[in-house]
């Protein structure tokens, strides 16, 4: 360990670290643009100057290694002057069009100029006005606002692993551009918008749609693959305006992929189921949720005298809590332990990028969770045995929880057609709902509370600010309703209650609660017994 003095405070840290990181960690702001923790250092914005005793002039904190005995000052006259100078230079040609700029409110040029800059411009020459550029399907370049930090270029090279962006021309004519013959269409490309410190790289889907200060930010987990990236869902009046990465160094780092980023679109584009339906002859008739629950209870009661004649199949897109609720109501009310996740081997390969960021081939976010909820406790009941028993006719009634837009394989559809009584909980009409006796309108993960376990066995929490379409219900609510109609008393009233029940039931979850998962989750079998968040 080494000791250095920062603004009179003694700080201890490991050797070999960048001064900017050491200073930022103690809560002192070092304004900067080009430096990004996950990218190589270019030291080009020249804003992060600090004074180091015995150095002839201020040094950039991003390219200075903290040394033992170093005496550093972050707020001297020289430092303030250096910041002022750099900010003046950066604003010379800036159009100052904050009123129409989407970055306003979260723009570092705005923030630092306000905090460290000069109120007035001494620049009276004509400004450069390079034209805006279209870079790819989702991203444009508001060229006039660029400060040439090159974070985007470095991101594409170092993190995405494909040089889709570059700098063209020279000097003050320097411009970010797409490499000749290419488009900015990499699956990680959207991240360049987030790391652009100014309003230059813009998400075309977000442009001019709202001001960022209107957005409510909820942190949750992406459900589009088993990577379990941490995301912010940013919404206003129940509409998602954008999904952005939430930093979790143990999972996604600083990034998300574009499938996750734009995942809300595909749910927006569909007609959601909002009313329960019951089949009468060839028709499916809309009913109230109570009527639906009663119909389910009546039918399940017919079969439940034989153990495991009623079964439940849960999609691995469901939360642990929902899966557990289904399992519990089956056990308590339906005399059944035939509950399983519909596990699936991924059909496509993982996409792994140079620094390890991975888009998983497994497009279900919670196979690991369902293995825990179902697999471990009843070892001999798995998806295959449930399907076999449907085939053999032992299983007469099935509660199928789906709630995603994925296709159900034909083999399974064929099997389910044989079932005497099929209950389907889903979000849209599909070949599966067509053959259902009862259809229940469910929720998507973006509207849900609960937990997922990603492929690394990281248990993470889902939260939401969104109101699901009226008429839809969480799986745990439906499971509870069915069990209650069948005369059972059910104690859970929220995903949180269910988690606490699970924490008693599964040793892997012992001592945990939603709250204790904190911001970065817990890795099962590693840190669930430890207090606090891991790190």
């Amino acid at each position: 360990m080494i000791k250095l003095t920062i603004d009179g405070k003694e700080v201890t840290t490991e050797p070999g670290r960048k001064l900017i990181d050491v200073i930022t960690e103690i809560g002192t702001e070092i304004p900067h643009y080009c430096y990004h923790k996950a990218l190589s250092v270019t030291g080009s914005c020249r804003l992060c100057m600090v004074e180091v005793e015995n150095a002839p002039k201020p040094l950039i904190a991003c390219n200075t290694i903290a040394n033992d005995g170093m005496v550093v000052y972050t707020d001297t006259e020289n430092v303030r002057k250096a910041r002022q100078v750099v900010l003046e230079f950066l604003l010379l040609h800036h159009p100052l069009d904050c009123p129409v700029c989407d970055k306003a409110g979260e723009c570092l040029l705005q923030d630092f100029s306000f905090k460290y800059g000069n109120g007035e411009s001494r620049f009276t020459e004509p400004k450069r006005v390079p034209p805006f550029k279209d870079l790819g399907p989702n991203i444009m370049l508001a060229t006039t606002r660029c400060i040439m930090c090159t974070r985007c270029v470095r991101f594409m090279k170092e993190i995405a692993g494909e040089d889709q962006l570059t700098v063209v021309d020279r000097g003050s004519k320097n411009q970010i551009a797409v490499v000749e013959g290419k488009k900015l269409d990499h699956p990680l490309a959207g991240n360049v918008v987030d790391i652009c410190p100014v309003g230059c790289l813009l998400d075309k889907k977000f442009i001019h749609r709202t001001r960022v200060w209107h957005l409510e930010k909820t942190n949750t987990v992406c459900g589009e693959c088993s990577a379990g990236c941490n995301i912010y869902v940013e919404s206003h009046n129940n509409e998602i305006f954008r999904i952005t990465p939430k930093i979790n160094m143990f999972v996604n780092g600083f990034w998300i992929c574009d499938y996750g980023r734009y995942s809300n679109e595909k749910y927006n584009d569909v007609d959601r189921l909002t009313k329960p339906k019951i089949r009468e002859g060839n028709e499916q008739k809309a009913v109230t949720i109570e009527e639906a629950a009663t119909a389910i209870a009546n039918n399940f009661s017919k079969y439940m005298k034989t153990k495991n004649a009623v079964a439940a199949i849960v999609s691995p897109g469901s939360t642990n809590e929902d899966a557990f609720a289904v399992k519990e109501s089956m056990r308590i009310a339906c005399n059944s332990e035939a509950v399983t996740g519909l596990f699936a081997e991924p059909e496509i390969k993982d996409e792994v990028f140079p620094t390890g960021f991975t888009i998983k081939g497994d497009k279900y976010p919670n196979q690991e969770g369902l293995k825990l909820v179902f697999g471990l406790s009843v070892p001999d009941i798995d998806a295959e045995s449930v399907l076999n028993e449907i085939e053999s006719g032992k299983i007469k009634a099935v509660y199928y929880v789906k709630n995603d837009l994925k296709e159900v394989p034909q083999r399974i559809l064929d099997l389910l057609e044989k079932v005497e009584f099929l209950v389907v909980e889903d979000i849209v009409e599909s070949p599966l709902t067509e053959i259902a006796n009862v259809i229940l309108p469910g929720k998507i993960y973006l509207e849900n509370y609960g937990t997922f376990i990603n492929y690394q066995k990281k248990l993470q929490r889902l939260q939401t600010d969104l109101k699901a379409p009226s008429g839809t219900k969480s799986t745990w609510e439906i499971a509870k309703m069915i069990a209650e109609r069948m005369g059972q008393k059910i104690q859970w009233n929220s995903a949180n209650d269910l988690f606490l029940m699970m924490a008693k039931h599964y040793s892997d979850l012992e001592g945990l609660s939603h709250f204790k998962l904190g911001d970065s989750g817990k890795t099962l079998g590693v840190d669930n017994k430890v207090n606090g968040t891991d790190g």
């Binding site: 250092v41 020249r46 804003l47 230079f89 020459e125 020279r170 000097g171």
Partner: protein, 425 residues
């Protein structure tokens, strides 16, 4: 020994000298390499160069032997020796002459330097415009290979070495050593932050030495005559000779090699034939356009590293630009400002934004669209760039502005007051 006036141009000035390998060998060429490869250890070569006190002729004046000594002895990586032949500094045209007229002296120096740091592949990074010179060097390399001074097991010493010529694409900043390295690696010539210094981590991530053509050309002499003999020439901390490239309003512009310490006045009036048409001298830039300009009354100064620092300038590349009384200093500065604005690589904020801004202000002053505050603004912008950039281009562009404005302020004020250029430029 101490009255030796020529080292690197000693052959060139001889009648009939063609620069061929035969001519070079007739003048004692390629004897130093024999001595080095067969009799000396790399460390002894470095010691000899340190003893000579020879400092860089590319602009920064860093002692060559000390730089070579920075290469880590225990690094398992290959090392690279780069000969900086980018010669982009306006007013500088000495390296070109050495490469054209005595290429083997440069090659011999480069092979010895490479041996000293344990490098088997070295490069000559030559500016794109020097097409002809690149061809000459390539021919000379071929001659040296055929004569056994390059290739495998040179002179039976076990030392292998190859030299490649790499042509730049015409950027001033690619003469800055780390910009040069990036360019050599095939990237944009964007200078790197230091540390790490090239001697530790340079080309392809390996220890690398960058030296100027003229600096390297001194090496054979140092080996043949000993570092002490070289150190006896010139002045203390400015040992050896220097090529002064005199251009501008003198009667006999050209390259002059003299011992360090000759005065600027002597150079101009006794050797370069004085100011043309007996005009009055107005100003002299002593070391390439990046170095602060001197007024006519400041030229009684010795042309070595330390003496010029004392009068607020630098030896730089030794390119002396002489301006007589017909020159408009604002116009002259405008010319320079256009150059720096054009050549800034644009990587770092102060230089990218500051250079064109200064150009615009100088342009307004020259054309009478400015106020006196603009003169102060100009000076302030230069101060704001200086010391805050990635590479020394920041200083290269800021120093001329500061010196012109300080030393010839009355001319700037005159432009502002008249609302036009008094020289009708």
């Amino acid at each position: 020994m101490a009255d030796i006036q020529r080292i690197v141009m000693a052959n060139i000035v001889k009648d009939g000298y063609t620069g061929s390998i035969d001519d070079y060998r007739k003048e004692g060429g390629y004897t130093a390499i024999r001595k080095v490869l067969l009799e000396m250890k790399p460390d002894e070569v470095i010691e000899e160069v340190k003893t000579s006190g020879v400092r860089g002729r590319g602009g920064a004046g860093f002692p060559m032997g000390i730089k070579w000594g920075f290469v880590p002895k225990d690094s398992p990586k290959p090392r690279y020796f780069l000969n900086n032949a980018d010669e982009g500094e306006p007013g500088t045209f000495k390296d070109r002459a050495l490469m054209t007229h005595d290429p083997h002296m440069v090659l011999e120096g480069q092979i010895i330097g490479s041996f000293a740091i344990g490098c088997n592949v070295s490069y000559i990074y030559i500016r794109g415009e020097f097409y002809h010179e690149a061809k000459i060097l390539e021919r000379a390399i071929k001659e040296a290979e055929d004569a056994g001074f390059l290739g495998d097991n040179i002179l039976g010493s076990g030392f292998n070495h190859r030299i490649y010529v790499h042509r730049g694409a015409g950027s001033y900043v690619c003469g800055e050593e780390t910009g040069l390295i990036e360019s050599l690696e095939g990237k944009r010539g964007w200078p790197r932050n230091k540390p790490p210094f090239p001697a530790i981590e340079g080309a392809f991530g390996c220890p690398t030495i960058v030296n100027n053509v003229e600096t390297i050309a001194n090496v054979p002499f140092i080996i043949n005559n000993g570092g002490a003999a070289f150190a006896a020439i010139g002045v203390e901390k400015g040992t050896g000779t220097k090529i002064y490239g005199i251009s501008g309003h003198v009667n006999k512009p050209g390259l002059y090699e003299f011992q360090m310490g000759i005065t600027l006045k002597e150079l101009i009036y006794e050797h370069a034939g004085g100011v043309r048409d007996d005009k009055k001298l107005k100003a002299v830039i002593p070391g390439g356009v990046s170095m602060p300009v001197l007024r006519a009354d400041e030229i009684d100064v010795q042309m070595d590293f330390d003496s010029l620092v004392k009068v607020g300038s630098h030896l730089g590349s030794g390119g002396v630009i002489v301006m007589d009384e017909t020159v408009c200093m604002v116009d002259a500065l405008l010319n320079l400002s256009v150059f720096y604005a054009h050549e800034s690589c644009g990587q770092c904020t102060p230089c990218r934004e500051g250079m064109p801004w200064m150009k615009m202000i100088v342009d307004r002053i020259e054309h009478g669209n400015a106020s006196e505050e603009d003169i102060d603004l100009l000076y302030d912008v230069a101060c704001n760039i200086e010391g805050r950039t990635i590479c020394a281009m920041g200083e290269a562009g800021a120093w001329p502005v500061k010196a012109f404005v300080t030393k010839f302020r009355e001319e700037f004020v005159e432009h502002v007051k008249l609302g036009r250029c008094p020289y009708n430029k």
